[in-house]
Amino acid sequence: MSQSNPPTFMPSTETVFQRVGENTMVVNMGPQHPSTHGVLRVVCELEGETIVKARCQIGYLHTGMEKEAEYQQYHKCVVMTDRMDYLNANGNNLAHALAVEKLLGCEIPKRAQYLRVILAELSRIASHLVWLGTHALDLGAMTPFFYVWQQREMILDMFEMMSGVRMMPSWIVPGGLRGDMPEGFDKKLLQFLDTFPKELEVVEGLLVENPIWKERTYEVGVLTAEQALDLGCSGPILRASGVAWDLRKTQPYSSYEDFDFLVPVGEKGDVYDRFLVRIAEMKESCKILRQAIEGLPEGDFRTSDRKIAPPPRHELDTSMESLIHHFKLYTEGFRPPVGEAYAAVEGPKGELGFYIVSDGTNRPYRWHERPPSFMNLKALEVLAVGRLIADVVAIIGSIDIVLGEIDR
């Protein structure tokens, strides 16, 4: 903004490291490198081909969502959460809805909770599929990409069937869901649950015992449990390091305590373990999905509190009160009591939480997401040291980052 300094859009490599050693050179990966998953820039200091130091430069996708949210009513903030981690839109919606509901202190019907679980688990599988496809693609295995994309399409079709939108459903809102499960959805989901495990086995068979795959991933980027906790890494990364910590089990939300599933845990904490953990997690998600759709209770898909959720459409024609509630809700929104709340869910990438401060008005005073990718990314700077530059690609892939969430 000052006229004397011409604007620079990218810091030169020299400004990242103050002093570059005698035998080292600085190599810049990204921000447009195809295998850095979006606009991540990694600046590596190399000695030969070995990395001495790596620093991540982020912010290329920063859109100021946390500032924007302070100017929006709560029910309008929902659409921004989809766009943070765009591969796991339903999980973000769920975390946001739980945080707002915690502020409001409202109860959600059992049916809505089960439907939320279905959407969140489908999102988890879709997110893991994208990770699997791109991770394999980065390391030179092209075939899995096509297999997993086909499966992901089927999940997106289900989202479209439910909400009309493929990637950004915004279907989970504070107070419940926007609408009930459409007719035929259960049939489609059960059909998917029958075919998906077989398709996953095909992809798994391509990689698990593949000698090239093992060469690239085995004992690469080993993260100990101690380090993972210290760095704030969560999700599959933490579990691959041997810590059996899954918020769905330890601090159940949205009726996860009703379902029977296992938490896959790794031993070594290398890239290969993270791969195995995520594959196993997809199979566990299938188990949850089957239990949820088969045991789906009857009832309403949103809370009956008209101050939070809109009334049914048919009531608007006959009831003046419902009309007023509908009007007030969509013009003013609701006003949570003064206070603060943090609610977290176990996203596909780790602990995904929302910290919201309310000052009693219809807009959040402070609205913050705890982005799992952002905290996990720090592990890259630690893991890359001492490895070859080609391993950085494997490590980035195994951390499974989404830059939309890191930069927000």
Binding site: Q3, Q251, E332, G353, D359, R370
Partner: protein, 200 residues
């Protein structure tokens, strides 16, 4: 040693009052979560205690968040313009604790990087967006914002929009300064409707 007066029925508060009697300003349980408001200067000791005590083991650093309370009109836990809220998790107790410190402009919060390595990124983010300086983790380079950005956008007085339009010779975009304005943040003109009604 006299009888300890506890504000909450929690092990964390008891341990903290015993080991660091002056650190704790206030403890409260809010919506089922434990909040410990501590003195800024002692945050590193508090975090180290929570992390290393064998009965607590708050080893997981979840995140830290900055909040600008300059436009807050209600009761507060701490004095000072900003609050930094540390979110720590104990895998042993399966419990979360929120540790709060207050900080004003020109003051520094001791960095938690020596205790939790994961604190580096969130602290850099808080400096970038709020301008809160962390002692031991001082930054000169922007993190999320562009390198030539001026100011810290998550401060309450910072308007929404109004930044330079790139490649347009210093022209400024529209800004929304009043949060109570209807349609704040929605309209390119920044003003629609009457100002008394909140909403459409």
């Amino acid at each position: 040693m006299g009888e300890l007066v506890l504000q909450t029925d929690s092990l964390e508060e008891r341990k903290l009052r015993e080991a660091l009697p002056n650190a704790l300003v206030k403890a409260k349980v809010h919506k089922g979560e434990l909040y410990l408001c501590v003195r800024r200067e002692q945050i590193r000791e508090v975090a180290a205690l929570l992390k290393n005590d064998p009965e607590l083991e708050y080893r997981f650093f979840s995140e830290c968040v900055g909040v600008d309370y300059s436009r807050w009109e209600h009761e507060r836990d701490l004095e000072g313009r900003f609050e930094v809220v540390y979110n720590l998790l104990s895998l042993k107790l399966n419990r979360r604790v929120f540790v709060k410190v207050a900080v004003d402009d020109g003051q520094k919060v001791p960095s938690l990087v020596p205790v939790y390595a994961g604190a580096e990124y969130p602290e850099r983010e808080i400096w970038d967006l709020f301008g809160i300086v962390f002692e031991g983790n001082e930054q000169t380079q922007r993190f999320l914002m562009p390198d030539d950005w001026v100011g810290h956008p998550l401060r309450k007085e910072y308007p929404l929009g109004g930044e330079d339009v790139l490649f347009a010779g210093g022209e400024r975009g529209p800004a929304v300064e009043d949060i109570a304005m209807p349609h704040a943040g929605e309209s390119f003109e920044g003003k629609t409707g009457t100002e008394e009604v909140s909403g459409r």
